[in-house]
């Protein structure tokens, strides 16, 4: 299974890169390659040009900005897994990364690649949505920001133009103490999530929920925030009943159906996993163990 021929470019600077994007069409950007190269090998993708991002300066860095973390698009998943800033300030990303492919794919795979490939089941996209991340896009007309909520234009279609490139994202972190959980159901370890749920939960001094964020992947073409549930959770005591009620919002979502999985099964998983994620996050937030 060998790819069709293509011309190969490996720019060294962002300017060079954008120049290439403006000059050529029928091209694909090569980041980690863990999603693109299989498609090239199988000839599901046939393009005239491959533009390799791996040697472009300045696209892979993790910066602690106190209230936020800056992450370069070409930061390897493996680097994120081991980074102490992520561990301290956004540990849910590391919990989610355990489900992303396998250790060999995380050696090369990047967060930018995942966000731009935008598979409906992409865990990192779910984490970005959970934090209301801001994505940074560079093009011939300069830089612009896109909210993660506005990132998906449709199935595997990110809001980045043909002459633009994602350079990084800013993840606003939660300053207050909180619990987190990323729970996923897949056929085998490392497989695409059928449904995945990430949640952040903060409790007030009396142990009541005073902030909640719940994001689901795998249920729609883009990650979904369960905003109605988040509102309903706020002010509630963490309990099985509370989480079941929140999970009902997940069960009512309009879910994708495909040749392998029905919409109704996804809805069921959405409910079950939302309940479990909330319980685990609540326990980690310092509440009593709400697992049955």
């Amino acid at each position: 299974m060998k790819p069709a021929p293509f011309a190969y470019h490996d720019p060294r600077t962002l300017d060079e890169l954008i120049g290439l994007l403006s000059r050529h069409d029928n091209l694909k950007l090569l980041a980690g390659g863990q999603s693109l190269v299989p498609m090239l090998n199988m000839r599901f993708v046939i393009v005239d040009h491959i533009v390799d991002l791996n040697r472009v300066d300045g696209l892979a860095a993790i910066g602690d900005r106190n209230a936020a973390i800056e992450i370069g698009a070409m930061t390897r998943q493996r680097t994120l897994e081991r980074d102490p800033v992520i561990a301290r300030k956004a540990p849910i990303m590391q919990e989610a990364l355990r489900h992303v492919g396998h250790l060999q794919t995380r050696s090369r795979g990047t967060i930018g690649g995942s966000l731009c490939h935008l598979d409906p089941a992409a865990e990192l996209a779910g984490v970005a949505r959970l934090y209301d991340a801001v994505l940074h896009v560079a093009g011939p007309r300069g830089m612009r920001d896109v909210k993660m909520a506005d990132w998906s234009l449709g199935y595997m279609a990110p809001a980045v133009g043909p002459d633009e490139v994602l350079t990084g994202l800013t993840l606003p972190v939660w300053s207050e103490p909180h619990g987190h959980a990323f729970v996923e159901f897949a056929r085998r370890h490392g497989d695409f999530a059928i449904v995945g749920v990430g949640c952040l939960l903060a409790l007030d001094g009396k142990g009541m929920i005073n902030r909640a964020a719940v994001a689901l992947v795998g249920v729609a073409t883009a990650p979904v925030r369960l905003t109605a549930a988040e509102v309903a959770l706020t002010g509630q005591a963490p309990s099985v009943a509370t989480f079941k009620a929140a999970a009902e919002h997940a069960e009512k979502l309009d879910c994708l159906a495909d040749a392998h999985v029905s919409a109704s099964y996804r809805q069921r998983l959405a409910g079950v996993l939302t309940e479990r994620a909330l319980a685990r996050a609540a326990t980690r937030a310092g509440g009593a163990d709400v697992h049955r």
Partner: protein, 777 residues
């Protein structure tokens, strides 16, 4: 002479090359001027070919040739039938390259030869094929209906054959039996998915004009025979060798259109041609197993003893029958399994469909038969409110009935006789290992809202299939020993096992034994590696040959040292006079027997300290076992976790317990794959839709428990080393065992599972359906 290797966990002699990356697999072979091939394959499941235009392809860079059936002078001649049978109603075998019609997606239409595989693929994409689409047979359940579309346009219907297994008077037994239970059972198995795909290289030796073919095949001698027959050449003008083969599991024993095509292309082009299958080709064009629909019933007495089984199986044979009726026969052959049935009457209808042909995959039809028998046994237990193991105990053939004539007939018409085995003891052993606290733990877990289940499955396996395998053992003048055999390996450790046998008999260190195998140019006759036969037949041949070498060494040594043969024994590479230090080295005997110019040979001896022996598998020897497993099922998601898996099995004497453990464990994992993961799916146009490893799931390390294996040994009386085959015993009961466990876990919901594979989504469906049924009562 002491036994020191036989029965020992000797580390494998195959390993040193393989763990350092110095194995030689098919794709590692490169020859000067070698062309690399790619195939143009049908993109439709059933169509007439109107036109094949190769002009654009021929002009592509690096192209050597683009060849169709006409270019190879094939004139519509199909490939030969590997296993002719009078039961075949309409014989269909694939053409080397289709020219008038195609019958499954992936069927070969043209071969492109180029300087690189990438260039060959580029050119193949430029070949234009015009098709006239024809109606497609995709649904097995309706394939033999009167108004079904035809998988082959010129056929009256889709019937390949009807095969029947019958003994006793089933009608009578059913009529008088106090209990009858009916089940509809749906079984699916997928592909072999050896990690190495297929591949073949053909080249004409410039000096000898002999045609040299390397193939990642389980059956080099069969490949030679079929090539010779098809090309009208004498077998001795063709040499076939299998290099290191990365897994076989059945489908690499089939002789394929690609093997003929590459060979003919090499001859036509006058240069070596190599084709290596890629994984997508493996999904669509390597044979596989697939669907069977069973409607069966079992008659039982009040103690749960199974008396008779009757019913019908509808079997998907795919678009062609390259392997004759071997898979249907292997499906019916195992009945009655370990059970002393009074009667049996099963009819199997094999149907053509427009999908890739089906042929045996590890276990062949035996897992199917075991699944049916074990589901029926569980059905009896459920219906009579008995423990599942009680039904087995009541129904087993007893050890004091051995040798036991089952009533069934083998393929050659002879009576099937179980030679040895104690099935009760196997079940007892498995249960003892598992312990007796499961029901208590299950009850406690249910209170906590968790669902544990235990499954059980037993089987009998015919091993050491006829006709024969052979081996030569030779002591070289440097003292080293060379074993040459036709037996072909794909990872089973045959070389190690054969070396162990020879080293014991000749009392030499195993380090000086080497093995050459699977090459028709190095050993004259062989059959192939299928049906767990090579350890038995190959091992027995080595035993016989090494014994003859030992006897010859003693005879010559007796003359050389002027002493009686009875005073001599082999010890540490020498023939020694007992109780003295008078001895002669084997290497010196070997040199003597190789001869010296102008010096006469020792009288009465043929040259060479060597011997060749063929062991015939005349009387089948039967392995058996019981598997028990424990699972937890999460009814909220349908997820299944296998917590524990215990195998108690009897494959006779173990030559190398470590190797047998590996075969059993690996085999069980195939069965777990069939129970939970592997599903080769096609759409309504018979387009394969699971054609990559993201969509077709094989078990990985995180899906599996440790598999506990207990070996029992009842020696086979049917060969000189007392062994039975071990390659498939792990697979045969495994799917049944896992399904039995899931059903047990979900019994509070009233779920009955008569199918495999079951996915988590399917388990949820079954629970919902059972809930609805319970509500409706």
């Amino acid at each position: 002479m002491g036994v020191r290797y036989f029965g020992a966990a000797v580390p494998r002699i195959e390993d040193p090359e393989l763990i350092t990356g110095r194995g030689r697999y098919l794709d590692d072979i490169r020859l000067p001027s070698m062309g690399e091939a790619a195939f143009v394959r049908s993109v439709h499941a059933h169509a007439r070919i109107k036109r094949v235009d190769v002009a654009a392809a021929m002009a592509a860079p690096g192209i050597v040739a683009v060849l169709t059936a006409a270019d190879l002078g094939l004139a519509g001649k199909p490939t030969p039938q590997f296993a002719p049978s009078p039961l075949i109603v309409q014989d269909r075998t694939q053409h080397v390259l289709a020219s008038s019609a195609v019958h499954f997606v992936g069927e070969t239409i043209a071969i492109v030869v180029a300087d690189t595989r990438a260039n060959a693929e580029d050119a193949a994409a430029l070949v234009e094929v015009d098709y006239d689409l024809l109606p497609v047979v995709v649904d097995l359940a309706t394939a033999l209906d009167a108004n079904a579309p035809k998988a082959h346009q010129d056929a009256p219907d889709n019937r390949l054959a009807t095969v029947r297994a019958k003994f006793g008077d089933a009608d009578q037994v059913f009529a008088r039996a106090p209990h009858v239970f009916r089940e509809r059972i749906f079984q699916h198995r997928g592909g072999c998915h050896a990690m190495e795909c297929r591949g073949v290289i053909a080249a004409e030796d410039p000096l000898s004009r002999q045609l040299m073919v390397w193939s990642a095949t389980q059956a080099p001698y069969m490949l030679r025979r079929m090539l010779a027959s098809f090309m009208g050449r004498n077998e001795n003008t063709i040499r076939v060798a299998a290099p290191q083969v990365g897994g076989g599991f059945g489908p690499k024993a089939v002789i394929y259109a690609e093997e003929y095509a590459v060979t003919l292309a090499a001859l036509k082009l006058g240069r070596p041609v190599k084709w290596v299958e890629d994984r997508r080709e493996h999904f669509v064009a390597t044979t596989q197993q697939r669907d069977q629909i069973w409607d069966v019933e079992v008659a039982a007495d009040n103690d749960g003893r199974m008396l008779a089984v009757r019913g019908r199986c509808l079997h998907d044979n795919g678009a062609y029958a390259p392997y004759g009726l071997i898979l249907p026969a292997s499906t019916l052959g195992p009945f009655p399994g370990p059970y002393a049935l009074e009667a049996l009457d099963i009819t199997l209808d094999a149907a053509f469909t427009n999908k890739v042909p089906t042929t045996p995959v590890r276990g062949a039809g035996r897992p199917h038969a075991a699944f049916v028998l074990e589901r029926l046994a569980d059905s009896v237990a459920r219906g009579l409110r008995l423990d599942r193991d009680a039904v087995r105990r009541a129904s087993f053939v007893r050890s004091n009935q051995m040798p036991y004539t089952t009533g069934a007939k083998a393929r050659d018409g002879s009576s099937v006789v179980y030679d040895s085995g104690d099935y009760q003891h196997c079940l007892d052993t498995a249960q003892r290992r598992v312990g007796d606290d499961f029901r208590a733990r299950q009850a406690k877990a249910r209170v906590e809202g968790r669902f544990l289940g235990m499954g059980i499955a037993s089987y009998v396996e015919d091993t050491g299939l006829p006709p024969y395998e052979g081996a030569s053992v030779r002591v070289e003048p440097d003292g080293k020993v060379l074993i040459t055999t036709g037996a072909a390996g794909q990872g089973q450790g045959h070389h190690t096992v054969f070396a162990q046998i020879a080293a014991d008999i000749l009392d030499i260190p195993i380090e000086i034994v080497s093995v050459v195998s699977a090459d028709t140019g190095r050993f004259p006759l062989g059959i192939g590696t299928i049906g767990s036969r090579v350890g038995v037949l190959g091992g027995s041949s080595v035993h016989l040959a090494a014994t003859r070498v030992r006897d010859k060494a003693i005879k010559v040594a007796a003359e050389m040292m002027e002493t009686a043969e009875s005073d001599l024994a082999l010890e540490d590479g020498r023939v020694r006079v007992a109780g003295t230090d008078k001895s002669v080295a084997l290497k010196d005997i070997a040199a003597r027997l190789d001869g010296f110019a102008a010096m006469p040979m020792p009288r009465g001896n043929e040259p060479g300290l060597s011997a060749t022996a063929y062991h015939e598998g005349r009387a089948t020897t039967f392995a058996n076992g019981t598997n028990i497993c424990e699972v937890e099922v999460d009814p909220a998601t349908g997820a299944v976790q296998i917590l524990r898996y215990v195998v108690a099995h009897d494959c006779g004497r173990l030559i190398n317990p470590m190797i047998v453990d590996g075969q059993i464990r690996g085999g069980v994992v195939h069965g777990i794959g069939n129970a939970l993961y592997e599903h080769m799916r096609f759409d309504e146009n018979a387009q394969p839709i699971t054609t990559n490893y993201g969509e077709y799931l094989l078990p990985t390390a995180t899906d599996l428990p440790r598999i506990e294996v207990i070996h029992l040994e009842t020696l086979s009386p049917n060969n000189p080393i007392g062994v039975k085959g071990a390659g498939e015993g792990g697979t045969i009961p495994a799917a049944a065992c896992v399904i039995s466990a899931i059903e047990d876990a979900l019994s509070p919901f009233g779920v009955v599972i008569n199918e495999h594979p079951v996915s988590p989504a399917r388990i949820v469906e079954l629970i919902e359906a059972a809930r609805k049924r319970l509500k409706a009562i």
